[in-house]
């Protein structure tokens, strides 16, 4: 069964360092998302990406964040200068197309980011 894969599964970094989280969405999907979940809390929307550009972003997704689809398969989230409060599980998700019968999001297993 096709799945969304994410690397790394866990990253520990020092405050102020840059971090890149990587995702490989399901191959025929067109919409890509990043969500984050601080431990024990809700799943928060960060950004959606379609047709090689950001289609929507939340207030959390400030200038410290950026996304890229560098090579047609990977979808990356970069945090330029990490803060303690960026510590969370980051989930990548993908979806086929708006007109499909379901808007189901397929989530990866997540990348846990710990900022010290």
């Amino acid at each position: 069964e096709p799945e969304v894969t994410q690397t790394p599964s866990h990253q520990v970094t020092q405050m102020g360092q840059e971090v890149i989280l990587r995702c490989v969405p399901i191959s025929n999907h067109l919409y890509f998302y990043w969500y984050r979940q601080i431990l024990g809390q809700k799943v928060e929307f960060l950004v959606s990406f379609y047709n090689n550009e950001i289609s929507e972003k939340s207030e959390i997704f400030d200038d410290q964040f950026s996304v890229e689809r560098p090579d047609g398969s990977n979808f990356t989230l970069k945090i330029r200068s990490t803060k303690l409060e960026d510590s969370a599980m980051y989930f990548c998700a993908s979806r086929s197309w708006v007109g499909s019968n379901t808007g189901e999001l397929f989530f990866g297993e997540g990348s846990r980011l710990t900022v010290l």
Partner: protein
């Protein structure tokens, strides 16, 4: 901005008891989805509701979408230990926009 509220935050039941979680949106929704997240896992899609007043069933799970398309519920009949996890509702203002998640209801079941 759009907010999705969910209650209760936690629920503990004895195996065999029923369980219900409720979801309310501050705005009218195009559709609502439900996801389950097992401890240590990632959200997994359960169902999508699109029509006003829609009711869908999956075995022991019953999902409802309110007439005004602003609220929804998930009811589990005769819970089992395999039902443990956090159940999230997630709403979209319109198809293609961001899916906004509620805070989730964490269900624990004792045998």
């Amino acid at each position: 901005g759009q907010q999705v509220m969910q209650i209760p935050q936690y629920q503990h039941v004895q195996e065999g008891e029923d369980f219900t979680t409720y979801c309310n949106s501050s705005t009218t929704l195009s559709n609502i989805q439900w996801y389950k997240q097992r401890p240590g896992g990632h959200p997994v899609f359960l169902i999508q509701l699109v029509k006003s007043g829609e009711v869908k069933k999956q075995k022991r799970l019953t999902f409802q979408f309110g007439e005004a398309k602003k609220n929804s519920s998930l009811h589990i009949t005769a819970t089992q230990t395999t039902d443990v996890g956090t159940y999230f509702c997630a709403g979209q203002r319109q198809a293609g926009t961001a899916l906004i998640f509620g805070k989730g209801t964490t269900l624990s079941v004792s045998s």
